[in-house]
């Protein structure tokens, strides 16, 4: 499906656009560090260090270089004494710690797994449903088109976040609300089948959490909510491709409708769909963050959740909400930059369309 001409165009556009290079770089870094989070995370993201007598209290540590000063009131010899306590950042917690003393960098790397996987799986799912929906509507036309697209209009009439929350409410009772997936890296490090030489940090990895939780409901919901965009774009493409002479030629040969759709309509509608899919990844990452910020995702380790918790601690420290927020910004901006690059390379005439 990717021709040599397209590859050349992609390369040329990539060389010319500094933004595309930056976006791709950020995306690759985010992708590798989150996918291989057990290797890169300095600490177990769930380990708490609140000072229980035997362990040191590591809560509310700011990032290194920064320090916080607080007035702490203590009773000393029956008297109230107010002391200034200065907390200094620590290089082993590069982005600081939260109220339970958990390492924020590790939490961001692990939380990114949720955001990225929901973004990618959600966009793929949305395309998988929306593209056939739109192609069928556009190609059939007439009453079929009306019926199918009125549904899309109904879905568009609701703000996507409200619709998503309502759908989560409907689906959350199902047994697949969230699903724990074994972490392949931890599994490999723990197993005897893989020689330790292959995984230099096997010891480190083995101490990491053994599974990650994947929010099945949220993924399905964000996919459903964003399906409409794919349906609309695919429909528009199908309508314009339908009028092409080669469709008429195929019909005159007796080619079936399904084959015409797959062989002639789909490949010639791919360009805007690919561009839309990348932009939708960003939109879905944002939507997922919003849902988990509001506490609908059913998982406790994600960027949205960490912002929400950090928000209540904003008076004690800015970094707890800001760091995951920056991660979201970086991911969304990077995806959008890559999307722009694809759009420019594939077809300069189309404008990006995304529902955020």
């Amino acid at each position: 499906m990717i021709s040599a001409r397209l590859r050349r165009s992609l390369k040329r556009e990539f060389r010319q656009s500094r933004m595309a290079q930056v976006g791709a770089l950020i995306l690759v870094v985010i992708f590798i560090t989150t996918a291989f989070a057990p290797f890169f995370a300095p600490h177990d993201p769930t380990e708490q260090r609140i000072g229980t007598g035997t362990t040191e209290d590591m809560s509310y540590l700011p990032p290194p270089v920064f320090s916080t000063t607080e007035n702490v009131t203590v009773f000393e010899d029956g008297e109230r004494v107010t002391r200034e306590v200065t907390t200094q950042g620590n290089w082993s917690f590069v982005l600081g710690t939260d109220r339970h003393g958990r390492d924020i960098l590790s939490r961001i790397l692990y939380g990114g797994r949720v955001s990225l996987s929901v973004g990618l799986v959600g966009a793929a799912l949305a395309a998988l449903i929306g593209v056939p929906w739109g192609l069928a509507a556009g190609f059939a036309g007439g009453r079929v088109d009306d019926t199918l697209m009125r549904w899309a209009d109904v879905m568009l009439a609701f703000p996507s976040l409200v619709l998503a929350i309502a759908l989560v409410g409907i689906f959350r009772g199902t047994p697949f609300h969230t699903r724990a997936i074994g972490d392949p890296f931890v599994w490999a490090a723990n197993s005897d089948f893989v020689p330790n030489i292959l995984i230099p940090r096997a010891g480190h990895v083995a101490e990491m959490p053994e599974s990650m939780t994947f929010p099945v409901t949220v993924t399905i919901v964000v996919a459903l909510v964003n399906t409409v965009w794919f349906a609309r774009v695919a429909r528009g493409e199908a309508i314009s491709v339908r009028e092409e002479d080669y469709i008429k030629a195929a019909r005159s040969m007796g080619t079936g409708k399904l084959t015409i759709l797959r062989k002639h309509v789909l490949p010639n509608s791919m360009t805007p769909i690919i561009v839309l899919a990348t932009i939708q990844v960003a939109a879905i990452i944002l939507l997922e963050s919003a849902l988990s910020y509001l506490g609908f995702s059913g998982i406790s380790l994600s960027w949205g959740q960490d912002i929400q918790r950090g928000q209540s601690d904003l008076r004690r420290g800015w970094w707890m909400a800001t760091m995951p927020g920056l991660a979201i910004v970086a991911a969304v901006v990077a995806v959008n930059l890559v999307g722009d690059w694809l759009r420019d390379a594939l077809d300069p005439s189309i404008e990006g369309e995304g529902g955020v």
């Binding site: 021709s3 019909r251 040969m253 007796g254």
Partner: protein, 388 residues
């Protein structure tokens, strides 16, 4: 010569929001085996819609309203004679009366179409060879036993279908289809066909692509080849080559060809018999000499008069005054549609003329009172009759 196609009273209308449009109105003609039949007419005269109606791919809001399309197919005629006696007449089968599934299966094998613009008639994202192979494959399936899924799909199940959508390497081209595609490309005179089959449409020139399209049309071994303005988009030297190719195919395989064009020169050099269309009607038809030398209808005469003659350098061409009428049903009166442009319009022409035999010959017919009587100046319509 055996008759292979007989069209009776074919009427195709478009029911648009702006009103009903009579694109093809009560068209009759016959084509014999191995013959090149030409349909000539101005833009918007219903030539192409006639062809689309034959293949049954008229797009909505268009609809074939009435008429019968008799195609010679002895095998099919025998098999449906007992079930559907109305649809059979001797060896002829009425394509409009058989069930739609059967009709679709016959699409490629009965008619193949060559379109005007070869550049837009190939899918730009698939190689030319693959598209020809598709036509081969569609025919193979249509001919396969309809009751056996295995024989129709040849192992190409739903899983393969899904795979083919995603993976370019899983494209549905059987080796047999590919070989046949190369063979066909060679037949239409494309050099180095094996190499060319792997190329994409944009790597072909217009003339080459038109050849490739003819190859694609031949892939299904059709009874009749419908060529809808096959040379219009090509430059003149290539036009001649393509016409030669069509004639060569006819001579070699006894293929029947229906050639649609607005170019009388093309008609004159290729066709055996001709039908002239005007405003959705076939106003005159006959052999090449009937039309070019003994034409009766003033429209046909006007068309011939407006051909540039190389031996008459001086003097202006004689165009037919006025324009083709709008085909909107509400605006079409019940008169001869050409009367307003006709230099020989008579009062009689305000009443629709039927099809007359010219000189008592059933082979040369014209929809004009002049076939029956000479022009009567005393009865002429005043020149400004239609201006008011």
């Amino acid at each position: 010569m055996t008759e292979i196609l007989r069209v009776e009273g074919l009427t195709t209308r478009f029911f648009t929001d702006e009103g009903q449009i009579n694109a093809v109105e009560d068209v009759d003609f016959r084509i014999h085996e191995g013959e090149i039949f030409g349909i000539v007419g101005e833009s918007g005269s219903g030539k192409s819609v006639t062809a689309l109606s034959l293949v049954d791919i008229v797009e909505k809001p268009g609809q074939i309203v009435s008429g019968r399309i008799w195609l010679r197919n002895p095998h099919l005629a025998d098999s449906i004679r007992s079930d559907n006696p109305d649809a059979v007449d001797g060896e002829m089968v009425d394509l409009r009366s058989i069930n739609p599934r059967l009709r679709r299966a016959l699409r490629g094998s009965a008619f193949s179409m060559i379109f005007q613009d070869p550049m837009s008639s190939f899918n730009p994202s698939i190689t030319v060879g693959e598209q020809i192979a598709e036509a081969v494959e569609v025919q193979r399936r249509a001919k396969a036993n309809p009751r056996s899924t295995a024989s129709r799909t040849q192992g190409f199940g739903l899983g393969q279908f899904a795979m083919a959508t995603v993976l370019p390497s899983k494209r549905f081209v059987t080796p047999a289809g590919r070989d046949r595609a190369i063979e066909l490309l060679e037949l239409v005179g494309i050099p180095d066909p094996a190499q060319r089959a792997e190329e994409y449409p944009h790597q072909f020139s217009g003339g080459m692509l038109q050849r490739a399209m003819i190859a694609q049309a031949l892939a299904s071994e059709p009874d009749i080849l419908l060529a809808d303005e096959p040379t219009t988009a090509l430059d003149v030297t290539i036009q001649a080559q393509v016409l030669e190719l069509l004639e060569e195919i006819r001579d070699r395989t006894n293929m029947t060809i229906l050639l649609i064009t607005h170019n009388l020169g093309v008609i004159a050099r290729t066709c055996d018999r001709v039908g002239v269309m005007y405003a959705g009607e076939m106003v005159e038809r006959g052999t090449l000499t009937d039309i070019f030398r003994d034409s009766v209808h003033p429209y046909t005469q006007g068309l011939i008069g407006s051909i540039p003659q190389l031996d008459q350098v001086k003097g202006r061409l004689q165009p037919i005054p006025g324009n083709v009428p709008s085909l909107r049903a509400a605006e079409l009166g019940d008169r001869c549609y050409f009367a307003d442009r006709c230099p020989k319009a008579m009062k009689r022409c305000l009443e629709k003329p039927p099809m007359f035999d010219v000189d008592g010959s059933e082979k040369h017919r014209a929809k004009c009172y002049l076939a029956e009587q000479p022009y009567d100046e005393g009865d002429a319509l005043p020149e400004d009759y239609f201006d008011g």
